[in-house]
Symmetry: C2
């Protein structure tokens, strides 16, 4: 039975994976339900759809994008590759293992452009409010057409939420920050390192944002980078010019004071303090409430909302795996919606969730986390017809990558890996990452190797 | 009859005026309806409640505040004075005519602190969605308790919307801006001039934000200020270091190109391109859609929504008058809600709205706009028991102020005016505005006059 309606909120990697999952089913000649997808931004790609704006978008909605100029993948592309669409299929040639944002965006688009997915997506449209109609087992969703400034209503039998959770800054207060004279921003609003050339930059936080923004600012000419951590340092072998410090206690003017008693003047402060799960359009009884973790509570198989079987969440986990995890989730969600997955009782689901949460609790190292998410995806794949791929090899690549970062945070992006999807060995990029100042697709695919002198010209350095 | 419920959204100057209007009625011993007010921020004062944050607030809601460090009133305080609570009553002494933000915030709080208004306000709570229940003539409002991350529902017979319209940036795109290397922000996210010391700053826009941010950056040490206007220049007698240019056509790297063919390099771009009326929590049939103007369409007497008599809007106009206008609107709204104002037919209301809109259309100069808003407020006062004050004198002060700004944009804030509420002549501030770098309440009320040398010390200049 497919005479029902599925609503998808968000056309980022998760939402697109959902559309792709149904498409692959349709291609087999099987019937699929009516599908509509709604996207706040003016294009698909979610986070990968770069914007120069900060704060709120053109129509005043909180901005989705947290990416910046010069953002290069911080994990090997071989660890996120779609199992049904390899990088080599897309680019027609081997490329390096750590491509810049525009290149990954192109890849994401490549697969979906070949389908009719775009016809199912209404852009510039935000989900405003959802009511669950108990009697009909349906969702009444109010959308806001941002261009027309008009609201409208849609009814769905299943609702798929793929709105991401790296868009709403978590921004703690530090005493005196309100009087800091220089630029103060959250990583979410960081749009490029040039603004910080010759500046002493303080980053607060010790996760991916701090690590990458720190290295970016260093690469592009900041005078110094200080990374202030709360509980544990990143612990890379930092080059001269980057250092880690214990947590800031407070500010006086442009001076930051640290737990160890040390104080120092800065020109700018960037909060790399993470993101909140924020789902303002959902009422209490449908709203996922979670910190960033590998197995949020209340999601059976990480996907089906335990308090309402008609509600699906995609991509709400912290991520080692990304695109390929969203795919396996979407394939599972599709099969579930099509009635091929039989749902155990709520108690059994709760027990299953608890089992996974206990497993996550037992993890300690980065390698443990990789293994955890590998196991999670293995299970999802076992439940669907998503093309299997060698997950153990991918896990090994993740561990190699974790090691590479420890050895040299400045050149781990020059390492190469081999695709488990089609066996392609990544090429060595024509320019070492630390010398490559141009992150455009055009420059990336340019085969000419420039020598140092030419590079200086190209980069106006 | 007062056995009904009134919901107020927003505890800024408009929402507080509404609470105050009911309070003054209650003080007379008259019955008032049940009232609840909901405020997104953690304190009252709306725009005057300064925040160091930008983009979104602590809980990820679009940030209300557009104010910045060193913001001083850009209009005479005598033109916004509450008719029932003078500045002299609040401060116990005459003060200057152009106080800094913190001083005005203190004044706003002074009146309302004396009431029990705070008990009626639920802070950190945002209106998420409103349904109008036709059969019951009631509003079902979904609120989101941001601290608890929980939604809840309230039912009201009348809904008063006082959420302001200077919070959602209007941010147009200019070709090449995505590659501008320096800071790019909307005035909404400008938090102080220090960040721009020694920088060449480009401001796009020609209204109050551009004028004031330009002068602030000049005062605090920017290298140069260029103000780029679309249709007409501000036309002040700018000092050396500030200039006006025609509109930017596009950017290439850090270079801005202007309509007149000139091009120039900049370190930072601040968009002073105004704000949008944004009411995301209201459905189409209740949502006010308007550009910033003196008489938005669909509001009878600028207050009662013409398509739904139970819906009240406060403060949705462009503003010469501010606090006192919100007061007169709130007093009128209160009397209407209490059944003392008889509402003419919808056709008559539409005709009345059209009359005012035609009047606005006939205005040309700043003086015309002042006269328009003076006439509007005169009419509102004639319909209520708000304490009358000499509006013609206030209009004259506005016109004098417009003239003062033309003569010298750098010292118009040193001029003094006389209160029409209690006749107090403003004092001359102990320090000329251009030399006063400290905008704190403490410093402002300090009676000691410092000489230039001492000033240098105080300001670390």
């Amino acid at each position: 039975m497919t005479n029902f309606k599925v609503g998808i909120i968000g056309a980022g990697p998760s939402g697109l994976a959902m559309l792709r999952a149904f498409e692959s089913e349709q291609k087999k000649g099987n019937p699929v339900p009516e599908i509509k997808c709604f996207e706040k931004q003016d294009n698909w790609g979610g986070m990968w759809n770069y914007t120069w704006r900060t704060g709120v978008g053109k129509y005043g909605e909180p901005l989705h994008g947290s990416m910046y100029k010069y953002l290069w993948s911080n994990g090997p592309k071989e660890c996120l590759e779609f199992a049904d669409y390899s990088f080599t299929e897309h680019f027609g040639q081997p490329i390096s293992s750590f491509p810049p944002r525009e290149v990954l965006f192109d890849y994401i688009q490549g697969r979906i452009k070949k389908s009719k997915a775009r016809d199912f997506i209404q852009f510039n449209t935000v989900a405003r409010w959802v009511d669950y109609l108990e009697d009909k087992k349906q969702f009444r969703v109010i959308f806001d057409d941002l261009v027309k400034n008009e609201t409208f209503e849609e009814i769905f039998d299943y609702l798929v939420v793929g709105t991401g959770h790296f868009s709403t800054p978590n921004l703690p207060y530090f005493k005196g920050i309100e009087n800091f004279p220089g630029a103060v921003m959250h990583a979410h609003d960081f749009r490029g390192a040039d603004q910080f050339i010759d500046q002493k930059v303080l980053l607060i936080g010790s996760s991916y944002s701090a690590e990458d923004i720190g290295v970016q600012c260093y690469k592009h000419g900041a005078k110094s980078i200080t990374i202030s951590y709360r509980t544990s340092s990143i612990g890379s072998k930092w080059p001269e010019g980057i250092k880690e410090k214990e947590l800031v206690t407070h500010f006086e003017g442009s001076t930051a004071f640290f737990k160890d008693g040390h104080s120092e003047d800065f020109d700018a402060v960037i909060f790399c303090t993470g993101y909140q799960h924020k789902l303002p359009f959902l009422p209490d009884n449908l709203r996922l409430k979670s910190k960033n973790c590998l197995y949020p509570n209340h999601l059976y198989k990480g996907v089906i909302f335990n308090d309402n079987e008609r509600l699906i969440y995609l991509g709400m986990q912290d991520q080692y795996y990304t695109f390929n995890m969203f795919d396996t989730q979407a394939w599972f969600a599709r099969d579930y919606i099509l009635g091929r997955v039989s749902l155990p009782s709520k108690e059994e689901r709760t027990a299953d969730i608890n089992k996974w949460m206990a497993y996550e609790k037992s993890t300690v190292t980065g390698a443990d986390h990789v293994d955890f998410q590998t196991d999670y995806i293995k299970e999802l794949i076992s439940l669907t017809d998503y093309p299997p791929f060698d997950l153990d090899k991918v896990a090994d690549m993740f561990k190699q990558w974790l090691h590479d970062k420890e050895v040299n945070i400045l050149n781990y992006r020059d390492q190469v890996f081999t695709s488990v999807v089609d066996g392609t060995e990544a090429s060595i990029h024509h320019t070492p990452w630390m010398k490559e100042m141009d992150d455009s697709l055009e420059r990336y695919l340019d085969e000419v190797t420039l020598d140092d002198e030419e590079l200086m010209k190209v980069n106006n350095y």
